[in-house]
Symmetry: C2
Subunit: 438 residues, 2 copies
């Protein structure tokens, strides 16, 4: 059968990985695609010593690839928003299918891109945009297609998980671990995207769109980072039977869809709590299947390439057919045909349990005042641990709560912090028990 | 668009689950399929109170369904080998696609069935045959399609995992736990299929065929059950840093494919070791993606239905197209187009590490004789623990080994059991460290 002619834009880490996987596993890939996948052209601003480009046409201009009439599928691996957006839109306009690993592009410009692809009848595939090599997009979209998805909860940023894992293992501080992650190349010089949850929110936005059939609404995602987590919190969580992870959580309720990234205490015995280091994992709860979990490398050259090439296989198999892409493919991606009747919920509306750490002045009646504020806000205490203080020092108080509406918790926090008995800000971390209803 | 007309054969646990999921989630399923899935006919020998069959044509004869000219897809959920085989072959002969949850049927008669399907140009899909609702077939076949798969290792029998989990938790014996599993409905009255590894070998056979593109060869799978595991072994494993699981393992080596089901010690910190109760999980190592893991319910009405309906979605999307099924679909299933150059290896050829437990007579020179036998067989000892014995009793000796060829281990075992110093049979359980090369 005719080969599928692939153009690769970008020969950085993932570009090189994709190139090498396509070359090395060409025989297996051809068997699975039913036809060969041929690299027709590569766009790269500089050589990558990882790749042997002998015999492959190379251009410095990525737009050469999307204008190359011989190319069937454009693989966008240049990253960033603006040039990538232009490149993908022009590829679509030229009738080419697109495979991309660019989570920011999909989360922010996805609605526009999918609309254009639907109009033109081409595929835009993006398995590599979420959790690297883990086939979680395919699992959600196809493997769990029978289910009404109830929630998705994932460790979808390897940098953050590396930091939290080793804060706990080695009793180290956030800053200390961040420096190590930077030295090892797991964190960028500017770590904001990773540790403040923006990268995870991009991925969660994509997962939620597929899970619930709602449009991409990255701008409505809540993000809270891990930079204020202390080893104290990690140790307290441990003694309470929990592990702190940086989670992306999306839940479908009667009122709408939750879309939130924040640190969370999860029960130690959960599989998700045992995902360590830079690895990723996503737990998905479906009404028929119950809980399922997908684990693997969330980043790296070849793991990400594995997902890029899986998308190429899907494109190749679809190209062997003669159907109208607009209906079956895009409809089932769940993104374009979004159900606007399900709004993204404001954080005030979410209901979860909480862990709190307060520093109290050692005075009679402090606990009563704290308990009164919580009671007035309808916050029900599950456990309260008052640590012993040495003479003249502040007394740490640890509180865990039952399910509470976030708006009430916020008001309680405001009043607690205003108490003369309470020193400094109150630490508040959500507890996610991840049962049927999160 | 035209609906896909589905005929369900069998209305037992999984049949009822499939019926109910198709009815309850019809709107979501139609969105994902791009067209409605309609239940055209159900074959059931008796009513199932779980299902409201109002308005659905019901027949007592499953063959009515495969002969019904209005039906596009036959869902085979009657189980067993012979009638199911006839039913599926006749459905194929009549030009109908087939979805089945029948692992025994696929593992034993799959080659014949896929050949017939290829000749006729129809799909035979079987996600539900392995690990219930976990989309592991799709992940292996499509999501990891870029990879050369190196090994697959899975907990793919919930009954066995339930027994082993609670032997460890509760310090109970195999027989005791088996009775409990039977009382709870997790184990059959005749538990042979589950606890002796036959059910797991059916599933492993299917996974290996997809992973490596080899024909189904269930008759060459090695099976060893868990009925001889004692709580002593469980506790010893624990103190050595391992958990005993009943694993299906398939590895591709230079010489061929390993296909084996047996108890194994796996390191406690592995995610797979933390899969408890009736849950299933499969770890897959690909050369590009590295290790990935898929977890969820391996059985039950709606989890299995989730996989059946996912297959129906695949069929529905394929039916919307006009391609020649013989090439793309069956080729990429990896089963028919098997690579016969990779034989299934005899157990003598496998290389793994071992845990051994011996009962020695407390006499001078016993250890030397044991060590000599092992040395002569090239078995390298990693650790040897001799327990203290009370006067006149047998001394338990625990040995762990480095990687050893199974033929050598078998010969060593034979010689050890022949020693006058060693009482009774030697316990030998494989240790699987599940690193890059297993």
């Amino acid at each position: 059968m005719e080969p599928v002619r692939v153009g690769i834009c970008g020969l950085g880490t993932v570009g090189a990985g994709t190139f090498n996987v396509l070359m090395r596993n060409a025989v297996d890939i051809e068997r699975r695609a039913g036809r060969p996948l041929v690299i027709e052209q590569v766009a790269a601003r500089r050589d990558n010593p990882q790749c042997d480009l002998t015999g492959i046409p190379v251009t410095a201009d990525v737009f050469d690839v999307v204008r190359n009439p011989r190319i069937d599928v454009v693989v966008e691996l240049i990253g960033g928003y603006e040039t990538a957006r232009e490149l993908v839109l022009e590829a679509i306009h030229n009738g080419k299918h697109v495979v991309t690993a660019n989570k920011a592009l999909i989360a922010v410009h996805g609605n526009e891109i999918f609309r254009a692809a639907a109009d033109k009848g081409v595929i835009v595939a993006f398995e590599a945009a979420v959790a690297g090599g883990i086939p979680v997009i395919k699992s959600l979209r196809e493997g769990l297609g029978a289910n009404r998805i109830q929630w998705v909860a994932g460790i979808i940023n390897g940098t953050g998980n590396y930091i939290l894992t080793h804060m706990r293992d080695q009793g180290r501080s956030f800053d200390d671990m961040l420096s190590e992650a930077q030295a090892l190349g797991y964190a960028e010089a500017d770590p904001t995207f990773d540790v403040e949850g923006i990268d995870a929110a991009h991925k969660l936005t994509i997962l939620a769109s597929i899970a619930y059939g709602v449009p991409l609404q990255f701008e409505r995602a809540y993000t809270e980072g891990i930079s204020r987590i202390t080893f104290d919190d990690v140790a307290q969580a441990d003694s309470l039977g929990y592990i702190i992870k940086h989670l992306g959580i999306s839940r479908r309720t009667e009122e709408g869809v939750e879309l939130r990234v924040h640190p969370a205490l999860i029960p130690k015995e959960r599989l998700l709590a045992n995902v360590h280091g830079v690895k990723n994992a996503i737990e998905v709860m479906g009404d028929a299947v119950g809980p399922t979990l997908y684990y693997g490398a969330g980043a790296g050259a070849e793991p990400t390439a594995s997902a890029v090439v899986a998308d190429l296989l899907d494109v190749a198999r679809d190209m062997a057919t003669h159907h109208d892409y607009r209906t079956p493919y895009l409809a089932f991606s769940g993104i374009v045909e979004g159900d606007n009747s399900l709004p993204i919920l404001p954080m005030d509306n979410i209901v979860t349990a909480y862990y709190m750490r307060l520093q109290a002045v050692d005075r009679p009646g402090v606990l009563a005042r704290v308990a009164t504020i919580l009671a007035e806000q309808g916050v029900s205490i599950e456990a309260l641990i008052q640590k012993e203080a040495t003479e003249g020092e502040l007394v740490p108080i640890i509180i865990t709560t039952h399910l509470t509406r976030e708006a009430n918790m916020n008001e309680a926090m405001r009043q607690l912090e205003a108490l003369a008995d309470i020193a400094g800000p109150v630490t508040r971390i959500r507890i996610e028990n991840l049962d049927e209803n999160v």
